[in-house]
């Protein structure tokens, strides 16, 4: 019964936006979904600041729910996210009469979920077994490999793929710091080089940031940060004197199962570019709020799950719950953040010159650590563009901003991705890795212990250095 109500509410969110999409924009839109994100000459009335309240409530609940009222949150988060999202939808439809912002958001949400869910399911069907004697060097190698592939299969995919072999290889000497450095490096900082790497960068890509801009603009910050973190890890791991299993003989082999899923991962990667606004020969599915890309990605979800080796799914303890959680929460986040984006952009325009790259770096970073980094990235992208009278909803404005004010976008991109590692709630995969580790029997530190004992003493000095060197 409850599921039916939730499904109806979710359908209302989607259908209401879809219907209005067809009616209100038939005169202005060009014939493709990509253009929905591009054509945006409509001027909106600014929302009342009180309507940001559902967004604030939702983010606070996401931050506190899993920590302070875990079982209530586990049972009720879908209802909470949808109800808060509906408040904003109803306000925009019936008070502001602005269906365009809703449509825009719906299109973006579908793309976002299509990418995350397809990476999640395809990588969940691959099993990696490392039969080597563990050493700090091997661990550094695994973390570095994870950082690199997180730019190809996303921090979610890389975390799913590597956390189990990483724990397995360390099983006789595993400590919470192993998992925490994995979260720092593979689940967050590693994925700063491409829009596939981390959700905030994908949102930027959907808004118009060129795909290959990120790697060119960020690698020289990414590389020293990664090296510093790996050095710190190596130093700590070298002091871990717990022995590997001495009685066991190691074959030295690395074994893969479910490798056919690499084909699915390749399909996902290629399909990212199948957007009419990137490749003109790609057909548009207008007036539907999704395109060929999203259909391919959802098809990959279905096919890769159905065709997966059941033994691999069993060994990976595959479960849809983590992606279901992201799908529900982001319905709420995407809907409720619409007024926040518009108000912040307007506010930034008024504050003008006072806002430097450094301020954007710290503001984006600190909020990314305690809220989710994807909406935070968009909020601050909106604010920095607003400073120059540009609109984040207009992709030509985003390209203009990328070309003319690159340093701001670098500061926001780096901060959103890097600081996502500050807490368990900073980025989607953090909690997933924590959950997998706990299911494996490892007692993980609480929210505050993670923050005080690991993130603040290890990450903050490094992030401070990044600020000193690149953003002052």
């Amino acid at each position: 019964m409850l599921n039916k109500i939730l499904f109806s509410a979710l359908s209302f969110l989607i259908i209401s936006a879809s219907n209005l999409f067809a009616v209100s924009y038939q005169d202005t839109l060009t014939n493709n979904v990509g253009a929905v994100l591009q054509t945006d000459a409509v001027q909106h009335t600014l929302p009342d600041p009180f309507i940001v309240l559902p967004f604030v409530i939702l983010l606070l609940m996401i931050a506190t729910g899993p920590v302070f009222y875990k079982h209530f949150w586990e049972h009720h988060y879908p209802k909470i996210a949808i109800i808060l999202g509906l408040i904003t939808v109803v306000y925009y439809l019936f008070v502001l009469g602005d269906s365009h912002s809703l449509l825009h958001t719906l299109t973006e949400y579908i793309s976002f979920i299509a990418l995350l869910s397809s990476l999640f399911v395809a990588s969940g069907g691959i099993l990696v077994k490392v039969d080597k004697k563990v050493t700090p060097v091997l661990n550094v190698g695994l973390l570095l490999f994870g950082a690199l592939i997180s730019n190809v299969i996303g921090t979610t995919g890389a975390s799913m793929l590597l956390i189990r072999p990483y724990i397995k290889v360390n099983q006789n000497r595993i400590s919470p710091y192993h998992i925490i450095f994995f979260i720092f490096i593979v689940s967050n900082i590693g994925g700063a080089l491409t829009p596939i790497g981390d959700p905030p960068l994908f949102l930027g890509f959907l808004r118009g940031v060129p795909f290959f801009w990120v790697i060119g603009a960020v690698w020289f910050i990414w590389l020293p940060t990664l090296i510093l973190l790996l050095l710190v890890f190596y130093f700590i791991d070298s002091r871990n004197k717990a022995e590997a299993n001495e009685s066991k003989t190691y074959s030295g082999k690395i074994e893969f199962k479910g490798l056919k899923n690499l084909i699915y991962l390749t399909i996902i990667l290629v399909s990212v570019f199948l957007d009419p606004s990137i490749l003109s020969w790609v057909p548009s599915l207008y007036p539907l709020p999704f395109g060929i890309r999203e259909i391919i990605m959802f098809a990959v979800v279905f096919i890769s799950y159905k065709a997966a080796d059941k033994e691999v799914l069993k060994a990976n303890e595959f479960d849809f719950e983590p992606i279901k959680e992201v799908a529900y929460l982001f319905v709420g986040i995407f809907a409720t953040m619409i007024p926040a984006l518009q108000l912040i952009a307007n506010q930034a325009k008024e504050m003008g010159e006072k806002l430097s790259e450094g301020i954007f770096y710290w503001a984006t970073g600190l909020l990314s650590g305690f809220l989710d980094n994807a909406p935070t990235y968009l909020n601050f992208l909106s604010a920095s563009m607003g400073k120059y009278g540009l609109d984040v909803n207009n992709s030509s404005h985003v390209i203009q901003f990328t070309n003319n004010y690159e340093s701001y976008l670098v500061a926001i991109s780096v901060a959103a991705v890097f600081f996502g590692a500050m807490t368990y709630i900073g980025n989607g995969p953090n909690f997933m890795v924590k959950a997998i580790s706990e299911r494996a029997g490892i007692t993980m530190p609480s929210f505050f212990v993670y923050l005080i004992k690991y993130a603040v003493p290890i990450l903050l000095p490094i992030f401070f250095l990044v600020w000193l060197v690149f953003f002052i």
Partner: protein, 115 residues
């Protein structure tokens, strides 16, 4: 005893295991349970005949929480065996199947479970 798979039963939040044993660690969903005292807020244990009942207080229906490829994991010591000898510690994965049946397997090398 655990060389081949065993079958048990489950109803709601209750597992019925077809043996008697001492529990050292139970992992259900994200909860790691090591408190098996009568006052444990997580679960209670009752033994009858050759069976052991586990009642998980924080779950109304385990089937709604544990999906097809997930397991409830146990570290146990068979009744009468020396609990202090690590070679007697047995890791088990308990899968919830249809019609209230439990499939109980000794954890193989593929399944991740740190004691």
């Amino acid at each position: 005893m655990f060389d081949k798979n065993l079958e048990g039963l489950y109803y709601g939040n209750r597992l019925i295991l077809p043996f008697q044993c001492s529990f050292l660690k139970v992992v259900v969903n994200r909860d790691i349970i090591t408190d098996f005292s009568p006052k444990s807020k997580h679960l209670s244990i009752s033994k009858e005949g050759n069976f052991t009942n586990l009642y998980f207080h924080e779950y109304e229906n385990l089937k709604e929480t544990i999906s097809e490829f997930e397991a409830i994991k146990l570290v146990i010591v068979e009744k009468g065996k020396n609990v202090f000898d690590f070679s007697n510690h047995i890791k088990l994965a308990v899968y919830l199947e249809d019609k209230h049946k439990l499939r109980i397997e000794k954890i193989d090398d593929d399944i991740l479970f740190i004691e």
